[in-house]
């Protein structure tokens, strides 16, 4: 049985005529990592939010989202809240807004544990320190007693990853987890994600507009455009022999290393023009 099965997912919002997500289907088995690629507005974040049941009330969701065979759509918020943070961990793009600025980060990590585990407050601390150490933070004791603003962007993102993983989730959803970071920090955070996901044997839904980043973490990829899936398959195949003109263009634009400096870069439109000309 799949861990997560999404079938014919459609989402539209209040006044908007155009649905944000149109008939998206995919499934994720235990430990599998699926990347969702697309530009802003393609519906990738809405898809992830729908899986977590975090869409605003103005959203109309149709289709089916099954977690270990059980339908999530229509379930009470309380049940979903138990699932979130316990079986499903989340890593968001902007680490400063995802952390509470008035609370020491150790307490924030502990809070996630206490909400879902029977651990007493004081007993949580050693586990929190161990988790902060696991995500590669040197001197976790000091970090636990720091406020978010005292940490660098990379450190904050590691704290967020610690929060997402502290309850040993079966699935971690990452929404552009490294977009706000420097390249060097991004490289270390991606390595870390790869390592902890492997260690925890957790599945991952990884959302990004950056193909190179997705290819570092995921074995399967889904390409979204205007709310629809235009292409899906194993990372190796999709990035070497893409078929849809949008994917072909996307792969070409991402390969800055194949173009001599100063020369014109290929664009997605070039590939649509190619397709039309044939």
């Amino acid at each position: 049985m799949s861990l997560l099965e999404v079938e014919g997912l459609c989402v539209d919002f209040g006044r908007r005529r155009v649905p944000a997500v149109r008939g998206v289907s995919f499934s994720l088995s235990e430990g599998e990592r699926l990347g969702i690629i697309g530009e802003s507005g393609s519906g990738k974040t809405v898809t992830a939010l729908a899986v977590m049941g975090l869409l605003p009330e103005t959203a109309r969701v149709r289709g089916s989202i099954r977690w270990r065979g059980g339908e999530l759509l229509g379930r009470a918020e309380k049940e979903l809240a138990t699932l979130r943070g316990n079986a499903v961990g989340m890593v968001f793009q902007e680490p400063m807004t995802a952390l509470d600025p008035t609370m020491k980060v150790g307490r924030q990590v502990a809070e996630v544990m206490l909400l879902h585990r029977e651990t007493a407050g004081a007993a949580a601390r050693p586990q929190v320190i161990a988790m902060l150490g696991d995500v590669g933070l040197t001197d976790p004791e000091r970090i636990a007693d720091a406020y978010p603003h005292q940490l660098s962007g990379g450190q904050r993102q590691r704290v967020i990853i610690a929060m997402a993983l502290v309850n040993g989730p079966d699935l971690v959803i990452c929404d552009e987890p490294t977009t706000a970071l420097d390249v060097t920090v991004q490289a270390t955070v991606l390595e870390l994600l790869d390592r902890v996901l492997t260690a925890e044997r957790a599945a991952c839904l990884f959302i990004s507009h950056d193909l190179a980043v997705v290819s570092q973490v995921c074995s399967q990829v889904l390409v979204m455009l205007d709310g629809e899936v235009v292409e899906a398959g194993p990372t190796s195949k999709l990035f070497t022999s893409p078929t849809h003109p949008y994917t072909r263009g996307l792969v070409a634009t991402a390969r800055l290393d194949l173009v001599n400096p100063g020369e014109r870069l290929p664009t997605v439109e070039d590939y649509y023009a190619l397709g039309a000309g044939q």
């Binding site: 530009e39 802003s40 962007g153 420097d182 390249v183 060097t184 920090v185 991004q186 490289a187 991606l190 790869d194 507009h209 950056d210 193909l211 190179a212 980043v213 290819s215 570092q216 973490v217 995921c218 074995s219 194993p234 990372t235 190796s236 990035f239 070497t240 263009g249 996307l250 792969v251 634009t253 991402a254 390969r255 800055l256 290393d257 194949l258 173009v259 001599n260 400096p261 100063g262 014109r264 870069l265 290929p266 664009t267 997605v268």
Partner: protein, 271 residues
């Protein structure tokens, strides 16, 4: 080629209560007219401080900044009109760098209405025709001028920001992370546009970025910064292919490359 910028032993220290932070330490840079210089480094490496000093938006603690033969770091703002007209900036995030209450046409022609800049320009410069020229330069239809920034996508907004920068016919364009807030698919368009404009207008370009691939594509020379110091400089090819410092090598190694499978080997570069 003539020298357009020269900085001598430039340092900038910020004070934060009793703590002082050396954001830039002893930076000496020369820039020739027509050169395309890329400045790379992580956040906090001093690259933004350096361009703020070049653009005359901040004053050095120690050192000199020369622009086209004039020392500018001591000049009062009212005498900086020539610099304001000749040096224009494009910022990272076009969502926050365009005034949401102004129409696109007004945003683009705003530099022309500045009192400081106006004195430097040909007095008879016609705003309507200049607007049409720069909008054509960045491939935006003229009727967009009557709309507001929120009606446009990130890539279109960055084109608007570039059109505004071009309006006073500058000699130097300073772009601070011009594509890092954009989607990969939009990035190619804006980079092609920047390359075309620099070539067709004979601009001198300074690009700041943390992504070495992007910066190399736009520039002929590179400057690598770390903790406020320039640790390496040279032609783009040389820095890219024969990095001299461990730091530059670590920046190069960190560039995310497409892997075609979790265990697949790194794809070979074309060179």
């Amino acid at each position: 080629m003539s020298e357009i910028y020269r900085t001598v032993g430039l340092s900038r220290t910020y004070r934060n209560g009793s703590r002082s932070v050396a954001a830039l330490v002893d930076a000496s840079v020369t820039l020739q007219a027509g050169q395309r210089l890329g400045i790379v480094g992580e956040s906090g490496s001093g690259k933004s401080t350096l361009i703020r000093l070049l653009a005359g938006l901040d004053r050095p603690t120690v050192g000199e900044v020369w622009f086209a033969g004039t020392q500018i770091d001591q000049l009062p703002e009212r005498k900086l009109g020539f610099l304001r007209a000749s040096v224009q900036m494009v910022f990272q995030d076009p969502r926050s760098s365009l005034n949401p209450r102004m129409k696109v046409g007004d945003i683009i022609t705003e530099p022309l209405r500045s009192r400081l800049v106006r004195r430097q320009l040909d007095g008879r410069i016609d705003h309507r025709s200049r607007l049409a020229e720069v909008m054509a330069d960045v491939d935006l239809p003229l009727d967009y001028a009557d709309r507001y920034p929120h009606e446009f996508s990130g890539g279109q907004r960055q084109r608007i920001a570039i059109a505004r920068a071009l309006a006073p016919k500058p000699d130097v364009l300073i772009a601070d992370e011009p594509v890092s807030a954009l989607d990969v698919s939009v990035r190619a368009h804006v980079m092609n546009l920047l390359n075309d404009l620099v070539a067709s207008h004979g601009l001198t370009l300074v690009v700041v970025g943390h992504d070495l691939m992007v910066v190399r594509h736009l520039c002929d020379s590179l400057l690598v910064m770390q903790s406020g110091r320039i640790v390496e400089s040279g032609s783009a090819d040389q820095v890219f292919h024969q990095p001299q410092t461990a730091y530059t090598r670590s920046l190069l190694a960190a560039i995310p490359r497409i892997r075609t499978g979790p265990d697949a080997p790194e794809p070979q570069s074309s060179e």
